[in-house]
Each structure stands twice: as structure tokens, then as C-alpha cells.
């Protein structure tokens, strides 16, 4: 990865995906939900970017906005999404349809409900390659069997004509992954791919995504609320709060040297094996802000230990504190906390 980082910072490598000041609203009868308020980040070819944040922080909506799957009453208000030089927001629907599933694969949270229950698994895998690559039925079948082997679905041949209900959760997630990678996408977006699975299967699915990423050389955008998943897969991490990215840095920096009070609080609230059982689990006081409120000042200030008068008046913008570490906060907590940064072993 060091070599990769060097290339990126020398400006040699262009970002695969660029999201700039993305803002997505849901216009309801008597209020407007600001699901994504301001999101800016890049993904470079081959890297894995993790987006972490609590429910309602706008992670999934950001991902859906990227591939244009925001449906009314939702709407992208402003900002740009550029994928390999193409503007995905103003592109024609037909061109966007051709990018989805072919150049950008998407995996969903719940493998139980994201497969069509009345079609066989094989049919659902072949459909994507037939649509995007125009393969014949026989070639598509061969490709589907190859994909089923690639995602380690046992007995591909005999399982081909099975229905989704005959598969376990982990196997269905493998099917969804097979569909997502069927056309060798440059970018795989995984929206909470392990949340609906149990712990051992989670680890297998993460291993699989990691392996496929290195084998196929695709970039991965993984969305999760699980810090452990981030640690296991991502090179860089974006921490989201109330529709904004509040911290964006390499995975080690985020875990070992968090600069945003929210990131640090998130890390503190992870249950730890080395803490005595009697010790109560740390929780962040307060509630996430009302998503219908216009943002005035920092959205985290009411729950923040370090809030300043300035936080009420001004929205902190994402600022580089080091070339690879961006934080949206007026206080630099790495300077004024007496506590040692939590050491979390990613393995």
C-alpha cells in the first residue's frame, strides 16, 4: 500500500470516483430530511474506503446517490459525482443503467430480501452478464458457474437451479457478491454487507471481499457501523455524522490518532475484551440531531465534550491536518486530551 499512497500523493493516480459537496434531501409533506448534507471524498483505483457512522448518518443514502438510485421523495440537491471522468448526476438514465452492475457493483445489507424469491439463483446471476456483456445463454451459464466458484459457493453446478430460499444467509450474500462482481467492476460498493450475518459468516464474507479486491483489482467502498469491519478491510476511513464526513484518514490514523471528538467517542464505545466486565460500556450521551433541522454550526456540538462558542455559529469544514488526515472540527483533540489514544488491534 505504501507504493500506492506514494503514487496518489504524487498526483500520478487520478481518482476513480470523486464525490464533491454531495447533498441529498428527502422532501416530505411538511418537512425536509437532510439525509446527506455535505459529503466530499475520492476513491482511488484498487483501494478500500470504509464509511462508518451511526444509523441515519447518511452512509447508505450517499452510496445510493452515487449510483443514482435515490427515488422520490428523495433528490440530489447539489454536488457532483464523477466516475472515471463521467458526471454521474447529469448522465442520461440509460448510460447510468449501463454503468450500474457493469462498472460499479453493489452489494446490499440483507441478502434475504435482495434476491428475487421466484427466480433461480443461476438465472439471477446469468441475467446481469447477459444484460451487460450480451453473452449467449450458454456462455452466461459458464460465466455464472465460474463466478459461483469464485465466491466459494459449493456445488455450483447442482446449486445453479436452486431458489434463494434453499440457500443460507451467508450463501445468499455470496450470490449477491457474485452478481455484483460478474462484469469485473472497477468499483464495488458494499452497503453493510455483513450486518445481517452472524459473526463467523461475517468474517468469511469480509475475507471474500478482501480476496476478490486483490484478485480483481477493484476499488471497494464499504459502508458499515461496525468499527471491526472497517479495521478488517479498509485502507482509508470516512467517519460520517449527521450527513457530513467529519473525519477522513488512513485506517491506522483513525483508530490510533483520532482527531474528531466523535471518532474518538465512537472508538471508546467499542466493547473491549481487556476491560473488566463490571465496567459499563461507554455510550455517547444524547441523541443524533434531528435530520430535518437546517445545519447551523457543528451538528455534533450538543454531544461534544469539547464544544466551543464558535461551534454554534459556524459549520466546521473538512480540513487537512496532515496531508492524509482531514478533520472537520475547531478543536484539535489530539493536543488537549490527557488520555492516551485507544489502542485497537485491527486483527
Amino acid at each position: 500500500m505504501a507504493e500506492h499512497d506514494a503514487l496518489v500523493h504524487a498526483g500520478v493516480q487520478k481518482p476513480l470516483l470523486s464525490v464533491v459537496h454531495l447533498r441529498t434531501d428527502f422532501v416530505l409533506a411538511n418537512s425536509v430530511v437532510h439525509a446527506v448534507r455535505d459529503v466530499t471524498f475520492d476513491i482511488y483505483p484498487g483501494e478500500a474506503v470504509g464509511v462508518v457512522g451511526e444509523s441515519g448518518s447518511g452512509k447508505s443514502i450517499s452510496a445510493l446517490s452515487i449510483i443514482g438510485l435515490i427515488r422520490p421523495p428523495g433528490r440530489i440537491v447539489s454536488g457532483s459525482v464523477t466516475f472515471q471522468g463521467r458526471d454521474l448526476i447529469h448522465i442520461s438514465r440509460e448510460d447510468l443503467r449501463k454503468i450500474r452492475g457493469k462498472e460499479i457493483g453493489f452489494i446490499f445489507q440483507d441478502p434475504m430480501t435482495h434476491l428475487n424469491p421466484v427466480l433461480t439463483v443461476g438465472r439471477q446471476i446469468t441475467e446481469t452478464v447477459r444484460v451487460h456483456l450480451g453473452l449467449t445463454a450458454a456462455a452466461a451459464r459458464a460465466r455464472a458457474l465460474e463466478l459461483m466458484d469464485l465466491v466459494e459457493l459449493p456445488h455450483a453446478r447442482s446449486r445453479f437451479d436452486n431458489y434463494p430460499h434453499q440457500f443460507s444467509g451467508g450463501m445468499r450474500q455470496r450470490v449477491l457478491i457474485a452478481i455484483a462482481i460478474s462484469c469485473n467492476p472497477q468499483l464495488l460498493i458494499a452497503d453493510e454487507p455483513t450486518t445481517a450475518l452472524d459473526a463467523t459468516v461475517q468474517a468469511q464474507i469480509l475475507d471474500l471481499i478482501n480476496r476478490l479486491r486483490s484478485e480483481l483489482g477493484m476499488a471497494v467502498l464499504i459502508i458499515t457501523h461496525d468499527m471491526g469491519v472497517i479495521a478488517g478491510i479498509a485502507n482509508r476511513v470516512a467517519v460520517m455524522y449527521a450527513g457530513r464526513i467529519v473525519e477522513l484518514a488512513n485506517v491506522d490514523d483513525v483508530f490510533l490518532r483520532p482527531r474528531h471528538p466523535y471518532t474518538s467517542a465512537l472508538l471508546e464505545s467499542i466493547p473491549r475484551v481487556d476491560h473488566p466486565v463490571a465496567r459499563a460500556l461507554y455510550t455517547i450521551p444524547g441523541q443524533p440531531p434531528d435530520p430535518t433541522l437546517e445545519s447551523v454550526g457543528c451538528m455534533y456540538r450538543l454531544r461534544c465534550k469539547f464544544s466551543l462558542p464558535r461551534c454554534e455559529a459556524e459549520v466546521p469544514q473538512l480540513d487537512m491536518v496532515t496531508p492524509k488526515h482531514e478533520v472537520a472540527c475547531f478543536t484539535d483533540i489530539s493536543l488537549d486530551t490527557g488520555e492516551p489514544a485507544p489502542d485497537l488491534d485491527p486483527s
Partner: protein, 296 residues
Amino acid sequence: MKDPQPTSNERVESPNQMAIRRFLGHRFAKIGGTFLIILSFVVALAPILAPYDPIAIDIRDSMMAPNTRHFLGTDIAGRDVLSRLIYGARVSLIVGIAAALVSTTVGLSLGLCAGFYRGWVDSVIMRFTEIIMSFPTLILLIVTAVLVTPGVVSIVIGIGLFSWPTTCRIVRGMVLSLREQDFILAGRAAGAGSFRLVWRHLMPMVLAPVIVATTLLVADGILLEAMLSYLGFGIQPPQPSLGAMLHETQDIGILVGMPWLWISPGLVISASVLAVNFVGDALRDALDPHQILRGA
């Protein structure tokens, strides 16, 4: 490092096989189905099986009660009742099935569009559906018959174009909820267009109730054709149809004096409508997705 395999390699019944098994468990459906299959064969082989030309007049043989030469007797013009019955049932069955197919095609397409696209498309289609539903179909068909000489094609189109609202409403209702399912979003994320999602993913899911509705429409079509022809606005003489045969027995003298002219077509109408309804009911049970879940 493999996921557990709950069902290993054993051959699992497909939903279709399950439905067939359940369908065959229905006694009345088997009787009805057998009757319909036999009837279909008979009408398909009408030119071979019918002993006489159904419209050939033979005054010497007129008004004969059933006998060895004419199993079901002859009418006033001396036409063989059995031959007319076979050809008449053929017309009735064709009208019933074709009308049901026309109506299902219209209802399914409009219902899928209304449910999937929602918004103004839905409003326009549903208002249109309500307008069609508010017409008294029979009276409308009679008026049409006055304007155009009725024949098989015009009756099929007439019945078909006025009996689709039920199917349309069933489909729309299901699609409205199905379109919000996660797998439709997943399909979009995989690059499927609306047309593909509607016809390849949603259509199979609404097919079960649509098949049931279609079957029941066949029964309705047969009845409606019989009614029209009985009133003289359907199939025109000398061409036989079950309703047209009854039309010729409206005279009280014939009704009392020559019962063989109306008993057999009446029985065939009742029996086929009953059989179609039995089959429809069994299909409803066999294709009910909740039962499929329970059986699995």
C-alpha cells in the same frame, strides 16, 4: 470455511412441482379438468367426430327425437343436434378462452404499468378502469351487435375489452407493494431497466393470481357468449353456438315439445362453466404463495 448447507444436494421440488401436486390433490378439479380435456379433444376433432354437417338442412329428418341415426335428435330444419352441439361447444370454448386471454393481456399490462410507474400513469389507468367497470357490459355488447354484425372475433374483442378491470386491479395492488421490495432496488443496482424489472421480475410474481383470474374469466366468457347468443346478439344463425342453440328454443311449443333441443346445450354450458370454476378454485389453492411457504 464453507457455509452450512441446509439442503445439500437432494432434489428439491420446484414451486411449479409443488403447485401441480397440490392441484392434483383436488378431487373436483380433477373431474373438472378431465371433463375440459375431453371437451377440448372433442371440439378440436369436430370435423371428424361430428356425424353430420352442423348447418346442413334436411327437411325429411326434421324434428326427430333422439334415435339411432341422430343420437341427440334433430331440430326444426332437420339439422343434427349432436353435430351442432360439438361445433357449438367449439365456438363457445374458443370465445371463452380467447376473450379471457385478451382480457388478461390488457389487464396484466395496464396493471403492471399502473403499479410500477405510479403517479399520473397510475391515476389515468385507474380512472379508465373505473370508467370501464361502470359500463353494463351486456348492454354495451348488445349495442355493439346492432352496429356491427357480430361474429366470433367481435364478441371476443367485445368481452375481452370489458372484463379486464378485475385483473388490472389485482395486478396493480400486488405490484404497488412488490415494487418496494429490496430485490427490485437490487435489480436496479445491477443495471436492470424498468422494462426488464416489470416483465422479468415483477410479472412472474403476480402470475399466480392472474392465472386464477384468467381461468374464471373463461367461465365468464362462455356464459356471456351464451347469454348474448341466446338473446340473438351473439353468434348468428346458421352458425351454431351453445347460446344460439338455446335461442332457437325460445318458443314455448319447442320448450315443451322438443326438450332434446335445449337439454343438451344447456347441460354442456353448465358443465363446462362448472368445470372451469372447479379448476380455477383448485388453481387458487395450488398457487397460493402462503401455502407454498407452508409446504416448503
